[in-house]
Symmetry: C2
Subunit: 340 residues, 2 copies
């Protein structure tokens, strides 16, 4: 979700699915629980603001409350119990970006931690365990400790008429979302001018500060996962394969031509892009050709954003690819599930 | 532990005992693991500093690393694995003081969370799971996110010659440690002058800022647990019973004479006490008598501090009382365990 820079699905669905399975909830209840989890997590992420995201992985921090909301809905918590669940969840909120510098495994730990502590907080509240009533905005609460630009109005912005789940994006490329706007802008230039990677001398991406904070530490990625946080690698793969999917990263992230292209990509802070962020994720690139020409590319909504969403076929293809990649389900099992 | 404002025992022993039991470690290894856990947690707490403790419950945050160190020692992690365990532990560090305002149950949640996430981090590292290498002092690490006065020199202060476990205090009263210096100072005045509670018009406690931050929100405690964070209640119980133990709180925290005394106790920031803190926890009180006299009390080391430690008999008595209170072990079982 753009405005909150928060990945709701990876937190809400594991917690909600596990609970729904455990208590035998209906599919309808599961979906409502997911909507509640998205609403809470996204609003908390927006509330915590950009200063928070500079140091903290919002998916890990806001995620505890998202999971608590989803599970709390399934457990039919009353409002007072739900408040206590939020208190217990928020006081366990954690997740620092420091791991990016070393390509460490913490991103998955953050999501697992958020899902499990949020789930536990809801169960605890159901059993009468209490939490702080003002965990978000209290004097010694989340915002006091982890944000310098928190905005409580975000928590209730058009509550009940605005549905944040409808604002979420589908990822097209299998990389950090901060790389997508520039990747799409580069692709636009290359397709329009029918360029080959070898035509390109260098690419300057014009980005928001958040992209520099998160992607900046990754200069020489040594693992597949880290390469998804390397602006240069993502643009190199897109330039060579028109798409940066799981297979492309696995097979090519360390190829010589990919690394060589990667090292010719830079990031520069752009005032327009930065001030539009995080509501809009504008992609701007300057492409310097070997023949001396300089081309500019721009996309206002990267592929997968609500205004430029994936088609039904693209989403189905993605689901099939993911299942095949992880061996999670056979193509026929997937087709059957999708048809249902 | 005074300098770090960190309760090592409540984190280190549950995690270390569980692991030692699970793998059949020797008593000797368990003790060495506990020493390692104390060293790491205390040094991390000192590193994070006073600004951290204003918002965060250091026992919850530094505690994840303390548990990881203790469990990591038992699992015989090599230095690289231990570093990864610290990375995973630190990126899960959490715990906000906000719960104090509502007398919520989060204090126990923080300690359980720290013990369990630290333990898990050590096991994860043993299995090859990686964490940030500079989780403490990195640009997007713990100190960057949760402290404005962190001091890396604290992490290695006389490492190998200074043993922080020898600096820890035993609690004498069953209340928040921030109440002990003033409680002892009041007791000193009352014993010296042979005063009864009814002789006292009001008590002014001269305290450090941390006491005001943590105890300030608690003005009208509604639960036994919250009353242990009420300076007024603790002083009232000490004035009436010369000792504030588990029984005294349970039976008397809401008695009319206790509440009435409580409301005549105030806290005032004292420059001398504040600048000595947290290395020294000085207790100063002004006792205003009904006859117009004003008496001053002062203790430089509250009872239980290393320089004013509990006697063997006092520690044994405390262990017996705790076991009896919780029904954890019979007096004869306790005696046998203590004799061994």
């Amino acid at each position: 979700h753009n405005g909150s820079v928060f990945h709701p699905g990876t937190i809400v669905f594991p917690a909600a699915l596990a609970t729904a399975q455990a208590i035998g909830a209906s599919g309808r209840d599961l979906l409502v629980a997911a909507v509640a989890g998205y609403e809470v997590g996204i609003r908390v992420g927006e509330f915590l603001g950009r200063s928070h995201y500079k140091i903290f992985h919002t998916t890990g921090t806001a995620g505890t409350l998202a999971a608590a909301a989803a599970v709390g809905h399934l457990l039919k918590l009353n409002p007072s119990q739900m408040l206590h669940a939020f208190g217990s969840a928020g006081t366990q909120s954690a997740g620092l970006w420091e791991f990016l510098r070393d390509a460490a495994d913490s991103k998955q730990l953050h999501t697992a931690h958020a899902a499990s502590t949020g789930l536990m907080s809801a169960y605890l509240a159901k059993s009468g365990f209490t939490g702080a009533e003002h965990i978000l905005e209290g004097k010694q609460g989340l915002a006091a400790g982890m944000s310098s630009d928190s905005d409580p109005s975000k928590l209730i912005d058009r509550l009940g008429t605005r549905w944040t789940i409808a604002e979420t994006s589908f990822k097209y490329h299998a990389s950090c979302r901060h790389t997508h706007p520039a990747a799409d802008a580069l692709l636009q230039v290359m397709l329009k001018q029918d360029l080959k990677p070898s035509d390109i001398a260098k690419v300057e991406t014009l980005v928001h500060q958040g992209a520099i904070d998160v992607l900046g530490p990754v200069t020489d990625p040594t693992t597949v996962h880290q390469s998804k946080f390397s602006m240069g690698t993502v643009l190199a793969i897109v330039a060579h394969y028109q798409f940066a999917g799981l297979q492309e990263f696995d097979q090519h992230f360390h190829d010589q031509d990919i690394c060589s292209f990667r090292d010719r990509v830079t990031m520069v802070l752009d005032p327009e892009v930065d001030s539009a962020y995080p509501q809009s994720w504008i992609g701007k690139v300057k492409v310097y050709l070997n023949n001396g020409e300089v081309l500019e590319g721009r996309v206002d909504e990267p592929k997968g954003d609500p205004g430029n969403t994936l088609s039904r076929t693209e989403i189905t293809d993605k689901a099939m690819r993911l299942a095949a990649f992880s061996g999670g389900a056979s193509p026929s099992e997937m087709s059957a599930a999708i048809e249902r």
